[in-house]
């Protein structure tokens, strides 16, 4: 049952703000975040009837998109294109504030996989096992990426290392 009885329209209307917030943290950039969310939602539209848990599906798809980009870019450079509609998108102010936020600025400096692990762990409160399953990596990789990501964030944000 798609969305456990919910419609696609209802899902987008009620869930897209939060998903966009996640995408902003995952990408570190409002424009890329909008592209990413649009892409994921379009795919969900196509297969809506086969998606059991749209909220989990969307989060996983966003995170995988970011880490897949990392995997591809590790082998060749790739620019992430902006859709035309960004040219006339209306700024809501909050997006710009998010871009300027200290933590988003620091996240932007992290490698995408470290960023994804940190965001899923501390924004979505996913467990290490859940992150490992969803990103197709081992639990050890999640642990090490989280540890490196936290250390890098502390340094970037000028936080004293507590040990």
């Amino acid at each position: 049952m798609p969305g456990v009885g919910g419609s696609f329209e209802e899902f987008v209307s009620t869930g897209s703000d939060r998903l966009l917030g996640l995408a902003v943290l995952l990408t570190g950039d409002r424009g890329h975040a909008e592209d990413l969310l649009q892409d994921v939602l379009e795919r969900m539209y196509v297969k809506w009837r086969r998606i059991d848990d749209p909220h989990a599906y969307a989060r996983t798809a966003l995170a995988r998109k970011v880490t897949d980009r990392w995997r591809s870019r590790a082998r060749r450079p790739r620019e992430v294109g902006l859709e035309d509609w960004h040219d006339h998108a209306v700024s809501d102010g909050a997006g710009q504030r998010a871009d300027r936020s200290r933590v988003v600025a620091a996240l932007r400096e992290l490698p995408p996989r470290q960023r994804a692990v940190i965001v899923l762990r501390y924004f979505e409160d996913w467990s290490e096992e859940q992150i490992a399953d969803q990103l197709d990596v081992s639990r050890g990789t999640v642990k090490s990426q989280a540890s490196k990501g936290l250390a890098n964030l502390r340094e970037l944000m000028g936080v004293e290392v507590p040990w």
Binding site: E9, G21, Q38, K65, D68, A94, G95
Partner: protein, 162 residues
């Protein structure tokens, strides 16, 4: 004992910092709003994807133009077979045999990505093979490693242009 107390304090400070990080992440995006016409944009894009997929599945398997290149079921980035300049007569050739152990799950997934396929391709293959996306990546990676083509022509699965 002194060391234990020192470690406890360090752990407390680390936990405090992680709690602060949680709060700061939430605050950074709490007011972010998706554009008002997102639903319409997404529906239009979704319909376009449905039409494209239908068109792709209607094309004969012999060849398919995807992204400006002809796609006929093998990775465009895969190295083409090269005939040796001189016949090799003495050196034994080591070739994979069916009895060799299959690639591990993670290595097979790396092979999948090394051929410039992406998550979207794995989703289509997962639908075709009735497995989850991770399994599809691994299965595809093993096929590619074995030199076999993926069922791309029928489904529009193609590696990204380099």
């Amino acid at each position: 004992m002194v060391n234990d107390r020192g470690n406890d304090r360090a752990n407390e400070r680390a936990n405090d910092w992680e709690d602060g990080l949680r709060r700061e992440l939430g605050l950074a995006v709490q007011d972010v709003q998706a554009r008002e016409d997102l639903l319409g944009v997404v529906r239009e894009g979704g319909r376009r994807r449905v039409r494209r997929r239908r068109a792709l599945t209607a094309v004969p398997a012999a060849g398919l133009v995807v992204g400006g290149a002809v796609w006929a079921g093998v990775a465009r980035t895969a190295p083409a077979p090269v005939a040796p300049a001189t016949p090799v007569t003495s050196a034994p050739v080591l070739e994979p045999t069916p009895s060799e152990a299959p690639l591990s799950f993670e290595v097979a997934i790396q092979v999948f990505y090394a051929h410039h396929y992406e998550y979207d391709d794995a989703e289509i293959l997962a639908d075709l093979w009735q497995v989850d996306v991770s399994e599809a990546k691994a299965k595809a990676g093993r096929l590619l490693d074995d030199g076999q083509p993926l069922p791309g022509a029928e489904l529009g699965v193609s590696p990204e242009s380099p």
